[in-house]
């Protein structure tokens, strides 16, 4: 039985893989079917894991084992249920309370975290002595790094006309951005091809046994 199920599972995977690939030729019922199954499965997957790894340990277990000690957890529970009231048009407004808490908290977190890591962290990471490096290549690189960061930030400066001499750093900034986009593109090619390799390996190895 388990042998049969394993073979069946393999064919199932093959069917789904080929159905999705068929989209490359054109849109077709096989693709549409696989797509909807994918949506359904992933939604259920999220729910199941949410239940086991968040709701059970952080909420239900705490409430069941020590209800009195964890009375305070009823507040987020009620707020969470209010969130679900969004589904009924009449009570939709009640969901504003939990949404406000979530958005307010994440706004606060975003503000401090981005200010520290992306603002302060990146500023101080650019404060380098370019000539401290021991070889010419790194010295040039460091200078590029400083100039590029400054010009890039300047490119996003909107409240002044960028004409004449003012346009120079902005122009340089866009060049740096283009180089960076090129580099990202090159990197992404690698990522996407890897995914394809993974699928082909599955087809050639597990299904067709062409490679070992």
């Amino acid at each position: 039985m388990s042998g049969f199920m394993a073979t069946f599972g393999l064919w199932l995977s093959v069917f789904f893989t080929l159905s999705i690939f068929s989209f490359l030729y054109k849109d077709n019922p096989f693709y549409k079917l696989s797509e909807q199954i994918f949506v359904g499965l992933s939604a259920a997957y999220w729910l199941v894991y949410l239940y086991y790894s968040v709701m059970v340990p952080n909420l239900f277990n705490k409430l069941f084992t020590d209800f009195k000690g964890n009375l305070i957890l009823l507040i987020p529970t009620v707020l969470g249920l209010m969130m679900l009231l969004r589904l009924i048009p009449k009570t939709q407004w009640l969901s504003r309370y939990p949404i406000a808490i979530m958005i307010g908290t994440s706004a606060g977190i975003n503000m401090v975290r981005y200010a520290k890591t992306d603002l302060l962290g990146q500023i101080s990471a650019t404060m380098i002595n370019p000539f401290a490096a021991d070889n010419v290549v790194t010295v040039i690189g460091n200078i590029l790094l400083i100039v590029g960061t400054i010009c890039g930030v300047y490119f996003f400066y909107f409240s002044k006309k960028q004409e004449g001499i003012r346009a120079v750093p902005s122009k340089l900034g866009i060049w740096f951005l283009m180089i960076s986009f090129g580099a990202s593109f090159g990197y992404t090619v690698m990522a996407r091809i890897s995914l394809l390799i993974g699928r082909l390996e599955f087809l050639l190895k597990d299904w067709l046994h062409i490679i070992k």
Binding site: L120, S124, M127, T149, Y157, F185
Partner: protein, 366 residues
């Protein structure tokens, strides 16, 4: 007199023994949440034992090893309790050991001092934003430079009118809590106004129900403003599906069937950016894209005619709407950018002059 002196001397000695011996003492970790103590010792011995008194009266060994310049941080303490430590220095020749004792209570401070630079920058930027928003609300109009990607709006509408084909507007795959989606809708409002003036149809597929109702509102308002409320067709602004790839597949279908003359992809985009831009290109439409999602920008830059890069999307929305809130905020961000540039320049100069304290201050080393 002698007695007094003797007593004083004794007292001094005692206080030394109890409060701070120069061999073994405990310090509070400064500027923290009162959960840690630093235990320091300086005894010229090869083996010493550092022990902590537990509740049941027994001693737990925290450290065993050399006694010179010993520093041990005991963390996860309770700021309400007092902690007792002792240092045992074995004397093998005598078969016993000397013991030093110390007592301390961790103290909670009111500020993390090493975060001073961080607080200052955050405050400076925040004040600038609030200040400029207030000023803009009072009627001050701020200048915003022309943004290249916006040139496409007139060109696109012109082309669509000429061909008698619709315009497709995709507000991204973010929900309404994403500021990119909000900026996108502001641009949609402007675009819909122009489209109404030229009697060109506009199609808006949406991924979330909240985005749908907001888009309908925005487009309807634009048509009313343009004096053509009858031309507004609610069915052309519709909900597709919540699913990312389902949504993209739906848009692909629209592009192939309706062959819009111009496509706008503005908002937050992920892996689907390339699929949209590639399909759109194959239908021959003029394409304008804009996102703050850095990882997707390359694909838009490569396959679209115009691209709003990163913050340009927000700037475009402020530029078109002239909404004082957005204008003021943008002006505040610009202040922040100038500050960043100045700090970087100052920092580089400081590093080159060997004034490392400057960088250290911003790194916030503890």
């Amino acid at each position: 007199m002698k007695k007094i002196l003797l007593v004083l001397l004794m007292g001094l000695l005692l206080s030394f023994l109890f409060a701070k011996s120069s061999f073994f003492w405990v310090e509070d970790v400064p500027w923290d949440d009162g959960k840690a103590l630093i235990i320091k010792a300086n005894v010229p011995a090869d083996t010493v034992y550092l022990q902590k008194a537990l509740e049941d009266g027994s001693w737990q060994t925290l450290y065993a090893g050399k006694g010179i310049n010993l520093e041990y941080t005991d963390s996860e303490l309770n700021p309400d309790l007092e902690y007792r430590y002792r240092l045992l220095v074995p004397r093998p020749t005598f078969g016993d050991s000397i013991s030093f004792k110390a007592i301390a209570k961790p103290i909670e401070q009111w500020f993390y001092l090493h975060k001073l630079s961080y607080l200052l920058i955050l405050l400076a930027v925040s004040f600038a934003i609030v200040y400029y928003v207030q000023k803009a609300r009072k009627g001050k109009d701020y200048y915003i430079r022309r943004i290249n990607g916006l040139d496409s709006i007139d060109e696109s509408i012109g082309r669509a009118t000429e061909k008698g084909k619709p315009i497709l507007f995709v507000p991204g795959i973010g929900d309404l809590d994403d500021i990119q989606t909000i900026s996108s809708l502001t641009i949609l409002s402007h675009l819909a106004h122009k489209a109404a003036e030229y009697d060109t149809e506009i199609i808006v597929p949406c991924r979330f129900s909240m985005v749908l109702s907001a888009s309908r509102e925005v487009v309807k308002e634009a048509y009313i403003k343009a004096g053509k409320p009858d031309a507004y067709n609610q069915d052309r602004i519709f909900y597709l599906t919540d699913d990312q790839f389902g949504y993209v597949a739906g848009i692909d279908g629209i592009m192939v069937r309706e062959q819009p003359a111009a496509n706008f992809f503005l908002g937050s985009f992920y892996a689907e950016s390339l699929i949209l831009a590639e399909t759109g290109f194959s239908t021959g439409a003029i394409q304008t894209a804009g996102t703050a999602q850095a990882s997707q920008l390359p694909f838009f830059v490569v396959s679209c005619d115009y691209t709003l890069i990163g913050e340009e999307l927000f700037a475009a929305s402020a530029y078109l709407s002239r909404d004082p809130q957005q204008l003021g905020s943008l002006k505040g961000h610009d202040f922040g950018k100038l500050l960043v540039i100045l700090l970087i320049v100052a920092g580089v100069i400081a590093e080159m002059s060997n004034w490392h304290w400057f960088k250290a201050f911003f790194e916030g080393a503890q």
